[in-house]
Symmetry: C2
Subunit: 390 residues, 2 copies
Amino acid sequence: MNNFSFKSYTEFVFGKQTEQQVGELCHKYGAKKVLVVYGGGSVVRSGLLQRVEDALQKEHIDFLEMGGIQPNPVDTEVYKGIDTVHDNHIDFLLAVGGGSVIDAAKAIAAGAVYDGDFWDFYCNKAKVEKALPVGVVLTIPAAGSEGSGNSVITKTDGLHKISLRAPEHLRPAFSIMNPELTYTLPNKQTVAGICDMMVHISERYFTNTTEIETGDRICEGLYKAIIEEAPKILKNPKDYDARANIMWAGMVAHNWTSAFGMQECWCSHFMEHEVSAVYNVTHGEGLSVIFPAWLTYMCKHNVHKPYQFAVRVWNVPESDDKEAVALEGVRRLKEFWHSLGLPITFKELGIDKPDIDLLVSKLHENKGGLVGSYMKLSSIETRKIYELAL
Amino acid sequence: MNNFSFKSYTEFVFGKQTEQQVGELCHKYGAKKVLVVYGGGSVVRSGLLQRVEDALQKEHIDFLEMGGIQPNPVDTEVYKGIDTVHDNHIDFLLAVGGGSVIDAAKAIAAGAVYDGDFWDFYCNKAKVEKALPVGVVLTIPAAGSEGSGNSVITKTDGLHKISLRAPEHLRPAFSIMNPELTYTLPNKQTVAGICDMMVHISERYFTNTTEIETGDRICEGLYKAIIEEAPKILKNPKDYDARANIMWAGMVAHNWTSAFGMQECWCSHFMEHEVSAVYNVTHGEGLSVIFPAWLTYMCKHNVHKPYQFAVRVWNVPESDDKEAVALEGVRRLKEFWHSLGLPITFKELGIDKPDIDLLVSKLHENKGGLVGSYMKLSSIETRKIYELAL
């Protein structure tokens, strides 16, 4: 087991109508002038943006709006945000949305107090040493960005989609999590989010670090809760408790509570980032295609954890033929995702003939050499995995 | 499900030799003059105290020692600590020990910056509005105080053992968790700690709040990890990974990660506090006597959660006779605790004839009226539960 440190300083305010507290919370964390960052029109149409701004006004907190952040947010939006912060003496970022909006707000928060180009953080040229505080009103449970210190941004020039990790500075000051705000999410987005959080659990769970029962059992508990609750939402999108369980699971999945001294393996995320950078697909749908392919490959080459996953999470009976047990686990996972309406092949994702040459070359270029840690994969192997997803 | 807020701002530094970082961490959290609080001679004999003080000196941080904190720490020690803080301009408390030492340090930290009597916080006369920062070097995984905002102190006059909860101010600034420091813990203390953390999980898990699958599954995962790992420690006290799993489980069990919008029920803890206040027994051993008695009573009167506990945690086959299934779960829990060497009756605890009249009257006097929330128990019912533990 590896040494680790863990500090999750975010204040989570969870439950019905909690967005009404956003003014007080901004005040508590020192906001004088807020940039309200959001995505498409849904937060406008639902009246959420208005309620948020009313709450700010009630606390006499000045603010500006910056809407239009796209899924898979891009560097040009971040540059625009940084300019807005500078021109208007903004001292607090308030993200009203899901992972893309939060990630963009984090990038602006770090970039605005850095002399160089914010992209330096993403391409490992510089470390984040400080950032403006970020608050969150979460509308899409998926990315876990409401509890993490991570941010993923795509550079338009060359389509490099890169994740940054700076937990000391980029965890939100607060995150408001009201499951009611997710009632109107289309099924497509709901299930893509569910897939994303399951893969976040997996990027910890599938590890070569052994004797980590506490972390393993937390991960397995989260998988089981999600498997139990997800279908309830499809049946009744206004099932408050099911929405709430999924929302909290998505946060815990990615705030490192479960990553207990494990070597992590972000291979599926890295492989998917190339897919969504090139084809601009929904991240969670890219993952539901890539992860089962990766896991299938692991059943043959490093069966230990896929076997445990099959037995403990999917209740596959134990057997000496570990590969067969593990593959049955993959089959049940795919079946579950299919039942939610998720694509599990490139074809189902709408990409009949993906440019695998391009994906492989960009992946190994961005990551430099071998990719992953549960298995360190060469370009020959990542090609095979992409092909398994056809 | 209830609304809730959750902010665990403690920095956990986990792993081998991490106590070497204590000087830097004190420095990071602003310590200029530290009061090093500890218990008996074991931290002296093991050389840990010396290593901690060397690390402080290396960072040029001034310090004083305050040893001799007893298990079930008492108000007189807290008053002494507060005087020491005032007389010596202490600005940081460093607890080197287990729950008792940490709880005493927290009481001193809050009392030293309060104009009135610190006991006001414990008897609900005043709220903690501020406290000096507390750091921890953990030597006994049990109480979870290294991650919680709680503190339990006994008033010597009247033997009132009361717990205080002030998560905004009493969570430690940092907690150093090195499993190696627990190698020399006697079995008796190790297993009492394991019992304590299992009951901390239970005080959340046994709730009338329904549809809390994510919280339930995290709790069940923690139980399972502890059941798996505890026997390994008895077999080999220097099993680093088993010690580490238990240590992290004990923290998560009590830092509210799992208490996901649940109504909590601290009945077993309250009932035990009377036992350890009157008979000065080890808290965890008091719990291994009281909790199964409480749970047995619940099997008859509110079987829902005891049934789920039996099925999911102890793998008891499901059946329509829910009470029988639940009671079999209790039997397996008792068997497990017995196998660790824990007492499960007053007699095994060395108290042949407990003064149940006194325990019941003090309990209902301290808590005022009915006790608990999974069931609100009258004095007739708590008497029956104490009797079930004979």
